[in-house]
Symmetry: C2
Subunit: 314 residues, 2 copies
């Protein structure tokens, strides 16, 4: 099985690569801006996702599965419109073009996002809720979904558009995602560091743990897509939590490291993201349910805490 991971050098990409390598049986190509460095047998390429020649090298004709994680994150796409449009929209169109040249229509797993939706606080999103994004990242993701879905209907590719919740707990450092604080409010105290909270404690979020997201990506890569028919979008079974519930999962000494510091620009983006979804269809399609918060914290301690300490010189 020939698998290409675009954005293979990122946080989710590296975790997915580790899982696929542990399973064995796959010929792996990893693609990112710089060639990813991984302790597994893989063809590692660097390049721009909008460059047809670079993508043709990353997606050879024998490719069976493309997992497309390469993206400009939400706050960055909001700050730099041209960059977001180029990578998130045109980059995905370039992936469709490269995939059309494969010997057989490849499975394409596309990571769309909760940011492609908007809703009033408290709203519960129906299975067929309209994507009404209120940020450029979400608009680019929703538009790309429509075009991946159409290419699937035409039989050019076989796409699954997985709308990821906010992933917690991201290792490493804060990044340019508007949702960066959602991980930071747990990760930084677990590292013994101070952090700020830009939203109110009652603010609700739709989240997922890295382990479960990797499960979802692999399921999306290998599932029978016939039951999806023409609807290629998946609202997976995320977890609805409030910031207060997240803080309650910390011990008091850790919690004391979190200081309220309302940030209107962060609220303007994440404040429109729905926190509650009906996920019956995704569960029926075999997407794993979420795990509770204490388990998410335990997984971070087990999988990522030491590496994050090392990376940040703590």
């Amino acid at each position: 099985m020939h698998i290409t991971i675009l954005g293979g050098g990122g946080f989710l990409g590296r975790k997915l690569v580790a899982r696929i390598a542990a399973q064995g049986g796959a010929t792996l190509t990893l693609f990112d801006m710089l060639p990813p460095q991984v302790p597994f047998a893989a063809r590692c390429l660097g390049g721009d996702v909008t460059d047809p020649a670079a993508l043709a090298a990353a997606i050879p004709p024998e490719t069976d599965i493309i997992i497309h994680l390469a993206a400009v994150v939400s706050a960055q796409a909001e700050a730099d419109y041209d960059l977001g449009m180029r990578v998130n929209l045109q980059g995905t169109l370039a992936v469709i073009e490269a995939a059309r040249r494969c010997a057989r229509p490849p499975r394409v797993v596309f990571t769309s996002s909760v940011a492609s939706f908007s809703a009033a606080p408290g709203a519960v999103m129906a299975e067929d809720a309209r994507q009404m994004p209120l940020n450029s990242y979400g608009a680019e993701k929703a538009a790309a979904e429509l075009l991946l879905q159409d290419a699937s209907r035409r039989g050019m590719i076989d796409a699954v558009n997985l709308r990821l919740p906010t992933v917690i707990i991201r290792p490493g450092r804060p990044n340019k995602a508007a949702s960066s604080f959602v991980s930071a409010v747990l990760r930084e105290p677990l590292l013994g560091l101070h952090t700020t909270l830009p939203v109110a404690p009652e603010f609700a979020l739709w989240v997922a743990s890295p382990r479960v997201v990797v499960d979802w990506l692999w399921h999306a890569a290998t599932m029978d897509t016939a039951p999806l028919d023409t609807d290629r979008g998946i609202n997976p079974p995320g977890l609805t939590v409030t910031v207060a519930e997240m803080l309650a999962a910390l011990i008091p000494a850790e919690r004391a490291l979190v200081r309220a510091e309302p940030d209107a620009s962060v609220q303007a983006i994440v404040g429109t993201w729905p926190a509650r979804f009906i996920d019956t269809r995704a569960r029926r399609l075999g997407f794993a349910p979420q795990v509770p918060l204490p388990e998410i914290l335990a997984a971070f301690r087990e999988d990522d805490l030491a590496a994050t300490r090392g990376e940040r010189g703590l």
Copy 2:
């Protein structure tokens, strides 16, 4: 007021130009593949809607209103994927780029389509119904809508995405739209010509007359967009009719010219288009209601019958 009409040489473009010219007070630029020929004072340009230089000439910095009618129609976009993506998606992105260079964010009226939706027969579409297109034309239109809406939210442009019903009665000849038969089944008998009906008489359609569509386009070009807030899509007040009702508007001698000839490829496209929409929001926003079928036939006789006879040498 500086107005540019892209696709100004087409059926709706020419009718809109006539209306704007009759009102006076506007400096008009018309753009199409070939320079439109009109009996009005207008700057008439020819070019490709994906060519930045051609668009820059068509959309000078002082432009107040852009009416973007240029498109590859449904059956053609289905037959030629690359052409549809280039014109309907990339062409619209090029319009956004050109509009960003205007002195003030221009109003952009975008003609989206009923083809951007799908539904089971008999379904009534809610105001916030999801766009789930089952043809490439509709997918390209829905994706373009998302990006026009996002550019509006960012203050780059001021878009109104008008999702047009099937327009009847189109003058001239049958075209490559999957919905070409909807006009032909009335127009051809009115010209004394035989025609075929590719769908069943009980097939229901969402239609609009050219006069009302021109009203809508002008309203979309000049309305106060503040009440739209971030939702730039309009499901205008179309008319729901069955093919049998359309045939009943003909006299028996005309009706005898229509022969049933089921066409699976036409049914596969138009059979997924909803025929019923809740349109309370559009009416509240001032979009004119539809007129009944006999009035639509009378308007065709008055506005287009003679010209169509001449054009077709009848």
